[in-house]
Assembly symmetry: C2
Homo-oligomer: 113 residues x 2
């Protein structure tokens, strides 16, 4: 149960798209602090419950969130394995550029003219 | 010129939206390896030049890319300051959840019944 899941095979752009909406950002933020029911997810959002369910579907399709229905309550949880590839992708692009700037800085320091 | 720019005040969801398209992901990836002209950005993409220019506009609006026109050539560069807030946001959410799992694991280990 506590094992790290492997990253699902979801294209990066779909994960970024799942995070491209303010309501879905609030939902992921809430779930990073623990599982929540759909109505708990809806509480801070000024949108209808059907709209929350639609957003939840986008998050589930991206692999960022999973949910399980027990009785009448659907409990949602974050799947951090889906966050890892986007975190790595961003970090690698940022570092590639910063290394390039560092090399340029060294070059300029050694070649002051 | 080599100073780190401060992060622009762009909402997270707009940066995520800028990255939610496969062509724009390829463009950002290319720019992480160095500045490029618009036609260099277009080369690996199977889309029209006007479409590339539209994607570039979305990237510029998000703060992820800047461009400068000298003569007839527009040179684009990545702005990693805009990547930092999304990288931090993802990393913090992932770590919050993983800390929670760790605490749960410790609790279960200490309370085996």
């Amino acid at each position: 149960m506590l094992n790290q899941a492997t990253a699902p095979d979801v294209p990066l752009d779909r994960v970024f798209r799942a995070l491209s909406d303010p309501s879905r950002i609030v939902m992921v933020d809430r779930l990073s602090r623990g599982p929540a029911s759909v109505s708990e997810l809806a509480r801070p959002l000024e949108i209808s419950l059907p709209a929350v369910v639609q957003h939840l579907q986008v998050l589930e399709d991206s692999g960022l969130v999973s949910s399980e229905k027990v009785g009448r309550v659907r409990t949602c949880r974050i799947e951090t394995a889906a966050l890892r590839p986007v975190e790595d992708w961003i970090s690698e692009r940022r570092q590639a550029w910063e290394r390039r700037l560092d090399r340029l800085g060294e070059y300029l320091a050694e070649n002051p003219d």
